[in-house]
Amino acid sequence: MTNEKKLTQAFVSALSIDEAQVVDSLQYNTIKEWDSTAHMVLIAELEDAFDVMLDTDDIIDMSSVAKAKTILQRYDVEFSD
């Protein structure tokens, strides 16, 4: 599975949203599914999927799907786009 696919799956599973909704511009707290509770579930999903340990700054900074990619890249997770 590509890293893009893994990322999408983590969002789909943590937020219970459709795959089509997981686009770079999707932002935290702009849809009811991505609230602060779901955010912590998302963090756990991403940590599992990419085998990383995210710190507290990462959790605060992860304000969009695009930002999630940027943060994961700092942990050597590569995305093609």
């Binding site: 707290n29 602060s36 509770t37 912590m40 340990m53 710190d55 959790i59 605060i60 304000s63």
Partner: protein
């Protein structure tokens, strides 16, 4: 003539969040925060009719922080105070009220919530570093939400950011979930862990219950953070020192940090230092006032605590007069090294209803 665009209030608040948490000398901090509070005052005057009615006659540019108006904390129970339109409200925080008492309502928009989390993260990082630790929560798992969030659940969620493997120590009837605790302590006995609970819950439903049953829980590397009212504990003659001693004796935890915060100013909490004093972070400040004439008390003089925070943007709660009694102990010179104002608390003003996250828990034992 065109002038340079004044920075918008949200940008200025973001800037304060970027400052070191405990390094600014009080004089520098006050000079930095005064224009921010002045702008917040103007913002709420423009956006909140109740705030306008109460305070617009006070002026708009105050020369010192102590001249700023303050909102009595109980107004958040009586009025729906908000400074953003209804469609911008993402969350309404309710301070859990006991039967017969009205809860406070605090309206949050997306940006205010984010600042609250960010401010709390910056403060907690000073004590825990950036890493997240296995977390034991001395409370029951959250009940399904109806859209509003009670203050206890919000507090747990806020601190939950610093945890991983979140484990709830209590069942929904407040009995101890022995299995959960045993698994947690077996797995994480030898690593640093984060333990969080509201003061009264930790005492009544965890510490006393362990003592009563004689069961052992050992988390020597745990760091317990707790907050909430002391009123019920004061009735049992348990003060902060006793609390720490008994926690150490019962669960082997020597790192115990109390903090002062409230639903009306989530995020900019006042943490207790190694010397036992509560410190104002860069995002907040305190002023102690005489309860009869509201004059500013001198260092060492007991009075009502006024709390100020740069975070309340969606509701007019940046300057609140609490019903808590405190004493300013000093400024810039605490032996722990943190700068700014530091203080101690002495509980509630007499005849004030019981409020606070842990005091409002309906205990079957009390």
């Amino acid at each position: 003539m065109l002038t340079d665009r004044e920075p918008h209030l949200p940008e200025i608040i973001e800037e304060v969040l970027g400052l070191p948490v405990y390094e600014l000398l009080q004089a520098d901090k006050s000079a930095y925060l005064l224009p921010v509070f002045n702008q917040l005052h103007v913002h709420h005057t423009q956006q909140c009719a109740s705030y306008f009615n109460a305070f617009s006659s006070h002026g708009s540019q105050f020369k010192t922080i102590s001249e700023l108006p303050f909102v009595a904390v109980r107004l958040f129970k009586l009025l729906n105070l908000k400074s953003v339109s209804e469609d911008k409200v993402t969350k309404c925080l309710l301070s859990s009220g006991t039967t017969g008492s009205t809860p406070s309502k605090v309206y949050l928009d997306a940006v205010t919530s984010r600042w609250q989390s960010k401010a709390l993260v910056k403060i907690m990082q000073q004590f825990l570093g950036k890493q997240r630790l296995p977390m034991l929560i001395i409370d029951s798992p959250p009940q399904t939400s109806d859209g509003s969030l009670n203050a206890r659940a919000a507090g747990i969620q806020g601190l939950g950011l610093f945890g991983r493997h979140h484990t709830y120590a209590l069942n929904s009837d407040m009995s101890i979930n022995w299995k959960a605790i045993e698994q947690f302590s077996a797995k994480f006995a030898n690593v640093p862990t984060l333990i969080f609970g509201f003061t009264f819950m930790v005492w009544q439903h965890f510490i006393l219950e362990l003592q009563r049953t004689g069961k052992q829980v050992n988390l020597p590397q745990g760091h317990l953070f707790h907050s909430g009212g002391w009123k019920k504990l004061a009735a049992q003659e348990v003060d902060n020192t006793t609390f720490k001693q008994v926690v150490k004796r019962t669960v082997g935890i020597s790192q115990v940090t109390n903090f002062y915060g409230m639903a009306e100013q989530v995020g900019s909490v006042f943490m207790e230092c190694e010397r036992g004093f509560l410190h104002a972070p860069v995002t907040a400040d305190i002023i102690i006032r005489n309860p009869y004439n509201f004059k500013v008390c001198a260092r060492g003089e007991r009075g009502l605590v006024q709390v100020l925070s740069v975070l309340p943007y969606s509701y007019p709660g940046f300057s609140i007069l609490t019903e808590d009694l405190g004493t300013l102990r000093g400024t810039d010179d605490c032996q722990c090294g943190r700068k700014g104002n530091y203080f101690t608390l002495h509980g509630r003003l007499p005849k004030v209803e019981i409020r606070g996250c842990s005091d409002t828990s309906q205990s079957p034992l009390s």
